[in-house]
């Protein structure tokens, strides 16, 4: 370590073939070596729909997180939220690509992200609710990341499709951090000032009717996720209220009025010039 230039020293020891990167080499392809053929006995339509739904959850969440750019209370939080959004966007791309392979249409990720309307999306509705304030953003993130982490941990070991299992395995490491980040903030806000506690309590109340939808009929998943959430809310001095769920289901195509405007913004550039490449 003779060189005192920060990034040169960080890059030291990396492969010479990657010399064009100033630092941070050694990237990994999460699907490297994974067999892409759909296993026999798999219902292709069902698998494609499932990948699409999980991708929609991540895309819509990523867009909500991206909307914090230039609006977060701190520069550091802005970068953190954008990072988490980009993790989710990466999951979206892999899941959409898999959906396109499996459903036989060969559609690319852009076709799913930019050229479907709100009624074609199958994300859970909790993901599309607008962010009222930072407390809502981190509380929603806590609920969604706890749920998605539990789901992905399961998929990583039990999914019959090896590609979906590999995507889930990659996602687990990302989601574990998302949950940690969100949990730290919920505890901090809940255990903070009178105002931060009020805002976090309001966020939990606004989120509660949309929690049921996450579990569909999976009682085991519900117990696991709610136990995690309770651990955090206990530490924060708060409670996730038990309330009647909102009618309908995002997975069946039921939407709130908030998704269409979100997609209008997300899709505006691609639709203005469908031939554009980037």
């Amino acid at each position: 370590m003779s060189d005192d230039h920060v990034y040169l020293s960080l890059a030291e020891g990396h492969d010479d073939s990657d010399a064009r990167w100033a630092f941070g080499t050694g990237f990994e392809d999460p699907l490297h070596g994974v067999d892409q053929t759909v296993p026999e006995g798999t219902d292709s339509a069902q698998l494609a729909a499932y990948c699409l739904a999980l991708g929609d959850d991540a895309l819509v969440s990523a867009q909500r997180l991206a909307q914090w750019c230039t609006a977060a209370p701190e520069l550091e939080e802005e970068v953190a939220l954008a990072n988490i959004g980009l993790d989710l966007l990466g999951q979206t791309r892999l899941l959409y690509a898999r959906a396109g392979q499996v459903d036989g249409t060969g559609r690319g990720e852009d076709a799913y992200a930019y050229f479907r309307d709100a009624e074609d999306f199958r994300n859970v509705r909790l993901a599309e609710l607008p962010d009222g304030d930072f407390a809502f953003a981190v509380t929603r993130l806590l609920v969604l990341s706890s749920w998605r982490l539990a789901l992905f941990e399961r998929l990583a070991t039990t999914a019959s499709d090896p590609v979906l299992a590999a995507i889930a395995a990659k996602g687990v490491k990302e989601l574990a951090y998302h949950r940690q980040y969100a949990a730290e903030w919920v505890v901090r806000l809940g255990d903070g000032t009178e105002e931060s506690q009020r805002r976090t309590r309001d966020a939990l109340a606004a989120i509660a009717p949309y929690v049921d939808e996450l579990f569909a009929d999976d009682g085991e998943l519900r117990i696991e996720v709610l136990a995690v959430l309770r651990q955090v809310t206990d530490a924060a001095g708060l409670v996730l209220p038990e309330v009647a769920p909102v009618p309908g289901h995002g997975r069946d195509g039921d939407r709130t009025e908030h998704l269409a405007p979100l997609l209008a913004e997300l899709q505006s550039v691609a639709r203005a010039d469908p031939e554009a490449t980037w």
Partner: protein
């Protein structure tokens, strides 16, 4: 609010680096938050395997005025450098 959050200095150890290197600073409310912020701000491009953070105010630094008395005396003592030995090729990091 930023004015209430203390400044931290961040040190990152690269994948195969031997020691932590100062990479920058950030604001955070406490040590735990400083670590998550450091992770988000300074290891986004796959740089690190380990992070140290320390409150900036806890670092004692030499001042510019002391530059000569501190460092000039070692400038002419070539015998302190191990240039008179043959160093085997397989000994790194000297």
């Amino acid at each position: 609010m930023t004015r209430d959050w203390p400044l931290y200095e961040v040190f990152v150890r690269g994948k195969r680096g031997l020691n932590h290197v100062h990479v920058g600073s950030l604001h955070a409310a406490d040590d735990a938050m400083a670590l998550t912020h450091a992770r988000d701000l300074y290891t986004r491009r796959n740089e690190g395997v380990s992070i140290w953070v320390v409150r900036s105010e806890h670092i004692a630094a030499s001042t510019r005025d002391e530059k000569d008395p501190f460092f000039a005396p070692s400038a002419d003592k070539v015998y302190r450098h191990p240039t008179f030995y043959d160093i085997p090729d397989d000994v790194p990091h000297i």
